[in-house]
């Protein structure tokens, strides 16, 4: 199997889906002539032309709405946000238009649209450019939210998102674009709503998704050296969440750490913990521990930024805490 980057995997997904369905088009800032702010759309303008790979003005609210309108009358837009920080300006269209249309029209107007782009912190971009939005979006009925952590999942989930008749949010990661992994050349999708057990172990579960999958895998490697065997549950989709995968793991390990990139209050992890207490109350040998960003806007200085982010050391410490070691 070919080893390619997460960025190339997304590019392949776009290219394949655009070739297979001429209703699919890509729209966003710098997606066409510039080849994408993060080069995800590299080469697509040449291949598909300017009606299907569309550069927009810097007008997030506007072009998100253009996507919704086009989707209502039968096209299948993929709307790229340069980053999700800027998509805050477009949330009216995501939340009030895309997510509500089918319901408030009594089922008449589906909105088959994908909103995608990098989410969360990169390095030293400070407060306004470093936010993780999964819990904001996962809160909204009428949306699906996927958070691929590997090149394989990125390609498969983006393809599934484009084929889905609902609004699907794809949260990528700037820090993920250069990561590599095996990706099949043939057509496949990763089903939305299905978690993936990325590592098997029977001592403790780490439940996570997106960019934090890599952190969890590193933690599992380190802990294995100390004889601690960790189950890594990659949710892959945070709405709808694969509750069965969470409970199956926790019932096996009896201990859980929930790791997420964003903030603690009303975060994705809070929802995971709720599922665990509902479904696995009698299975738990220790309180669940959450690892997340410090409850502050992201600072710029290297040391402060490191202190604010969830990371390997914090994850290992959390596992040891629920294991009652140290």
């Amino acid at each position: 199997m070919a080893v390619i980057t997460y960025r190339e995997a997304l590019n392949q997904a776009l290219r394949e889906e655009m070739a297979r369905d001429d209703r699919v088009f890509l729209m966003g800032e710098e997606v066409a002539q510039y080849n994408g702010a993060y080069k995800v759309s590299k080469g697509l303008l040449d291949e598909f032309g300017e009606m299907r790979v569309v550069d927009t003005p810097i007008t997030e609210l506007g072009f998100a709405g253009v996507g919704v309108g086009a989707a209502m009358v039968g096209l299948r837009p993929v709307i790229e946000f340069m980053t999700w920080n800027f998509a805050v300006l477009a949330l009216d269209q995501v939340v009030n238009s895309a997510a509500k249309m089918l319901y408030m029209s009594g089922g008449q107007y589906p909105v088959p649209i994908v909103f995608r782009g990098p989410n969360g912190a990169a390095l030293q971009l400070s407060a306004q450019h470093s936010q993780a939005f999964e819990s904001w979006l996962a809160h909204i009925p009428g949306l699906k939210v996927v958070t691929p952590g590997t090149p394989y999942d990125a390609k498969g989930l983006l393809k599934a998102a484009i084929r889905d008749d609902n609004p699907v949010i794809v949260l990528e990661g700037e820090m993920l674009y250069n990561t590599k992994g095996e990706v099949p050349e043939d057509d496949y999708i990763v089903p939305i709503g299905k978690a993936d057990l990325k590592r098997e172990g029977d001592h403790c579960s780490i439940i996570t998704s997106g960019k934090m999958v890599l952190v969890a895998m590193n933690a599992a490697d380190q802990l294995a050296k100390e004889g601690i065997r960790v189950d890594v549950v990659d949710l892959r989709t945070v709405r709808p969440m694969d509750v069965e995968a969470i409970t199956a793991s926790v019932r096996k390990t009896n201990r859980a750490v929930v790791l997420e990139e964003g903030w603690e209050i009303a975060g994705i992890g809070a929802q995971v913990v709720d599922y665990i207490q509902r479904e696995c109350f009698d299975d738990l040998d220790a309180p669940v521990v959450r690892v997340h960003q410090a409850d502050v806007p992201m600072p710029y200085a290297k040391g402060l930024e490191r202190a604010a982010k969830p990371d390997l050391a914090k994850t290992i410490a959390a596992v040891k805490k629920v294991m009652y070691v140290d």
Binding site: G62, V66, G69, S105
Partner: protein, 335 residues
């Protein structure tokens, strides 16, 4: 009802067409009066914004559209829904929150939709639907079609970012969109001159090269048809249009707002009542001989019956079943 024919010339309208325009406006008026009654009785709840006074806008514009064109509008949508050809039954049932409503009781007054008529909904976020209209225009162009979309909005919308973002893209990409500002002088209780730093709202289009703009008397249905005819000619060629239609609302902003309110005088309202679009047009047709008093009386009777029938239908329609609560949140597709 949307015409099957291509847009005809508004000038050459025959007697039948003229009467059908009056019928359309009168039906909206009597329907809205009935809605007011039903609201007072608690049959209708929530926000409810009547269209009374603005009927020449909906009828004048929508009577010029083709069946395959598109319409999108705001929460003040009952008039346009009926002018587009949605049945009073399906609209009234929606207002009553019943299963036979056009949106199956899920949308209510502010969210009337009809896919069969390309009626893309009433939308509740001021300005939010204007980019959607640009998106429909984009899709028309993408497919190489010659349809247009008419996007209605209140005059408050011209001050929103969404409006400017959408108009900029419509002009940049030459989209077949007609943006219709229904300037009824007030956004809730805020007079337009207290909100917009511009007098002539249609000149907002000056910021966008190539956009065609004009303003028209919104109490004169034939003038609105004329202006719409010009607008459609431009839009079908891919030149977007900003059309300001100057009108007035005779009722409060919504059902909780008194008719004249604290923000406008009774004298002002009375002044505008003299230019009631229905009275003006009826008088014109009586004078030209296109309508007789007997025909008008018969029209009133017929409409009264239609409106009563819509009430009876809505009242008899069942509430949406409990299991519909979780329906239509997502489409269930195989990916």
């Amino acid at each position: 009802m949307a015409s099957k024919k291509k847009s005809e010339s508004p000038q050459t309208a025959d007697s039948e067409t003229l009467k059908s325009l009056l019928h359309s406006m009168l039906l909206q008026r009597r329907f809205e009066e009935k809605v007011g009654e039903a609201y007072a009785l608690g049959k209708i709840g929530g926000f409810c914004h009547l269209y009374i006074g603005q009927e020449a806008v909906s009828t004048g514009t929508l009577s010029m559209l083709r069946e395959d064109d598109y319409v999108i509008t705001t929460y003040r949508d009952h008039g346009q829904a009926i002018a587009r050809g949605m049945t009073p039954r399906s609209v009234m049932a929606e207002l009553f929150g019943r299963i036979d409503g056009c949106s199956r009781g899920k949308g209510g007054s502010m969210h009337l939709f009809d896919r069969n008529l390309n009626f893309l909904g009433g939308h509740g976020i001021v300005g939010g639907h204007v980019p959607l209209a640009a998106g429909v225009g984009f899709a028309i162009k993408y497919r190489g079609g010659d349809q247009v979309i008419i996007c209605f909005m209140g005059e408050s919308v011209v001050n929103t970012g969404a409006f400017h973002e959408a108009l900029n893209m419509a002009a940049l990409w030459k989209l077949p969109c007609v943006f219709v500002i229904e300037n009824n002088k007030y956004g809730m209780g805020t007079a337009v001159e207290r909100a917009a730093a511009i007098k002539d709202l249609s000149t907002r289009a000056a910021s966008y090269d190539g956009m065609y703009a004009e303003h028209v008397d919104g109490q004169d249905v034939m003038a609105v048809r004329d202006a719409t005819s010009r607008a459609l000619t431009h839009a079908r060629k891919g030149q977007p249009v900003l059309l300001e239609v100057r009108t007035y609302r005779y009722m409060g902003h919504s059902m909780s707002d008194a008719v004249s309110g604290t923000y406008r005088t009774k004298a002002e309202l009375d002044e505008y009542l003299k230019r009631d679009p229905i009275n003006l047009f009826r008088a014109k047709l009586l004078e030209s001989g296109d309508l007789s008093e007997e025909q008008f009386a018969a029209m009133e009777q017929e409409i009264k019956a239609i409106v009563q029938d819509s009430w009876d239908f809505a009242d008899a329609s069942p509430e949406p079943p409990a299991e519909s609560l979780y329906e239509d949140v997502l489409v269930t597709t195989e990916s």
